[in-house]
């Protein structure tokens, strides 16, 4: 009997939403305890700051340039490599419960298998999809073809109207406001907590675990759709946190002039989006102008986001309790992370997009190795990436990581990280949508975050961003054009291109908005 693996992902969760990372709004005792017993990473970055590319990196252990999912709406090929497939063929039972999003959601033709799974029934015995023998899928709402929505429509149709419609009537990301402050993507949702998707994901995970034999090894990816917008947690839970008492984030410059001066010192698409004159991607409401965001709206969004983080923490606690009841506690590795962050008020912005700063790139990552492995608790400050998760699962399972994986098994402490050369982490962005394109390549190394821009709609290819994380942890001062730092910048850019994987050819095709 080997070690079991529980991969817990959330969607669009900031580093600072966990108590163990210094967060003070949400109470997250379950993840905090895992961090205290295990390894907490202080500089874990995604290889893309949007869902589909980032999730594809988790599954494949490859950068977006290699797996080819360069933007939301580009499906991961069905024959893409998968760590779940490796584990399955090595004797692991495998499941994915919750949000997958390796394939586009907007799919009336059911061209993509994930969208048809709920109506076509369970996979045939012995069959797998991307290495998973069991999939029960959900996303951010209660309408659509996925398992959670189908269950809600069949069992709780009266609750459907309580959820915020993530898309509007024109299939754009909805800009409608709600709650007390009129913040976008906020809605009072009277749904019972027990049937909200967070608890459903935990329930269905427990259901699958209960189907396993005591001696079986398993890999379960439990993938919560929250705290990604919309922020419509069960109304019964919203009172946990009074948004009026929520402090504004350090990354939010309260003075408008200061805020706009900071934006003006960044490449121009930052300010263009803030003013509502350029929406460069599909990940934020097209009809929402960030300059209208108020301090109270940030507080309310933060409070609701924190409620969702608490519900996830409690749901994870239930799953861990069940694994303990099954006698698996000593042999269970738990990895907790997310696919990317959320701007959540930083620089006066919400949601996400081509903005490579800590709000979107610094992720919560906790690895609690199986107690039987007797790993010492540690904090890792060296940079790691989600690209390192798949090789980590291989190492846990005692499988050699295949050559197609581009990451390495996560370090167990900083000495291990140093010895194995964890020096840099790369993040990339490409978007092309109806005549607007943006292309970024970023390296995080030492105490620098350096982003170089390639030619696009708003950029001529000379722009960049350079931040000193030691002196400027909020990334307010763009030092790209600082002559004194030109050698640093040149070295970082050269290092970036030395390590940036070549782009997949032919390039995969954008097939849907998301």
């Amino acid at each position: 009997m080997g070690r079991k693996i529980l991969l817990v992902t959330t969607d669009q969760q900031r580093y600072d939403t966990l108590g163990c990372n210094g967060g003070s709004v949400a109470s997250t005792p379950v993840v905090d305890a895992l961090a205290a017993e295990g390894i907490r990473f202080e500089r874990a970055h995604p290889q893309s700051v949007v869902c589909m590319p980032s999730r594809s990196t988790i599954l494949t252990g490859q950068h977006p340039s290699t797996h080819g999912v360069w933007m939301n709406g580009v499906p991961l090929p069905l024959d893409a490599p998968s760590v779940a497939e490796l584990l399955h063929t090595s004797g692991y039972r495998t499941a994915l419960v919750g949000k997958a999003h390796f394939e586009p959601f907007l799919d009336p033709f059911f061209r993509f298998p994930e969208n048809a799974l709920a109506t076509s029934g369970p996979l045939a015995p012995g069959a797998v999809h991307r290495g998973f023998e069991h999939l029960e899928l959900a996303t951010h709402g209660a309408i659509g073809p996925l398992h959670y929505a189908q269950w809600m429509m069949a069992e709780h149709p009266e609750a459907l109207g309580g959820f915020y419609p993530a898309l509007d009537g024109t299939l754009q990301v909805n800009a409608a406001g709600g709650g007390d402050t009129g913040a976008p993507q906020v809605k009072v949702n009277p749904v019972e907590r027990g049937i909200y998707h967070t608890d459903w994901v935990a329930d269905r995970t427990i259901g699958w675990l209960d189907s396993l034999g005591d001696d079986e090894d398993w890999f379960c990816w439990m993938s919560f759709p929250d705290p990604h917008h919309p922020w419509d947690p069960p109304e019964s839970e919203v009172g946990r946190i009074d948004w009026r008492e929520v402090p504004l984030p350090g990354g939010y410059p309260e003075g408008r002039a200061e805020r706009e001066a900071i934006l003006d010192a960044k490449p121009r698409h930052w300010r263009l989006w803030y003013d509502g004159t350029l929406v460069s991607n599909y990940e934020a409401p097209a009809d929402w102008v960030p300059a209208t965001l108020t301090a109270d709206q940030i507080r309310e969004v933060t409070a609701r986001n924190a409620v969702e983080c608490e519900l996830i923490d409690e749901a994870l606690g239930r799953v861990l309790a069940r694994t303990a009841e099954r006698g698996w506690a000593d042999d269970l590795d738990v990895v907790f992370t997310t696919d990317h962050g959320e701007l959540q008020g930083d620089f006066g912005l919400l949601f996400k997009g081509p903005y490579h700063v800590d709000a979107l790139m610094r992720l919560p990552l906790v690895w609690r190795p199986a107690p039987s492995a007797a790993a010492a608790p540690a904090v890792v400050r060296r940079p790691v990436g989600l690209v390192d998760l798949a090789p980590t699962f291989c190492a846990i399972a005692g499988i050699d990581a295949p050559e197609w994986m581009e990451g390495r098994s996560l370090p167990v402490d900083d000495d291990d990280a140093t010895a194995r050369g964890f020096e840099r982490v790369l993040t990339e962005w490409d978007s092309e949508l109806f005549g607007t394109d943006v292309h970024l390549r970023t390296i995080t190394r030492d105490h620098w975050v350096c982003t170089t821009y390639q030619p696009g709609t708003s950029h001529d290819g000379t722009e960049g961003e350079l931040y000193d994380l030691d002196d400027d942890p909020l990334q307010r001062v763009n030092r790209w054009d600082d002559p004194a730092l030109r050698p640093v910048r040149d070295d970082l850019v050269a290092d970036l291109w030395d390590h940036q994987p070549a782009a997949r050819r032919p390039r995969l095709v954008l097939e849907a908005p998301v």
Partner: protein, 145 residues
């Protein structure tokens, strides 16, 4: 500002004559034989209704079926579309083979990507639907651009 209306274009080269391609794609009643995710269709006059694999009926109006130009155009008239125009052209290449171009224009813009993405996959399916599998383009689902 964001685009309200989207325009998407895909194409594929096929190693057969335009007449062969047109015999399939130029017949509005045969769209379910090659368009990925359409399971059936009915045609009455210039009205066509296709049913997608998800069970969604999609009403359409045929605008152009020109066997000389080898062009077919149609509009999806479902309420979610403010506007839609689908245009499929079969061109003759210098060596006598075919270039098929499928353009999708739609408002709201996201629907152009949804329909256009399915159209691209359907172009990639044409070699198989035309019995050309074994020819170079039949092996590569990314043959459509």
């Amino acid at each position: 500002m964001t685009a309200r209306r989207g325009s998407v274009r895909h194409d594929i080269q096929l190693s057969c004559t335009p007449e062969t391609v047109w015999a399939l794609v130029g017949d509005p009643a045969r769209v379910h034989e090659w368009f990925t995710g359409i399971v059936s269709c009915t045609v009455e006059g210039d009205l066509r209704t296709v049913v997608t694999r998800s069970g969604l009926p999609m009403p359409e109006r045929l605008l152009t079926v020109d066997p000389v130009l080898r062009r077919i155009q149609y509009r999806i008239t479902a309420p979610m579309f403010t506007e839609h125009l689908g245009t499929l052209d079969v061109h003759t290449l210098a060596d006598g083979t075919s270039l098929v171009v499928y353009s999708t224009d739609a408002e709201p813009a996201p629907l152009a990507l949804v329909i256009g993405g399915a159209a691209r996959a359907s172009l990639a399916n044409l070699p198989a639907a035309l019995g050309l599998v074994g020819a170079a383009e039949g092996h590569d689902p990314k043959g459509a651009r």
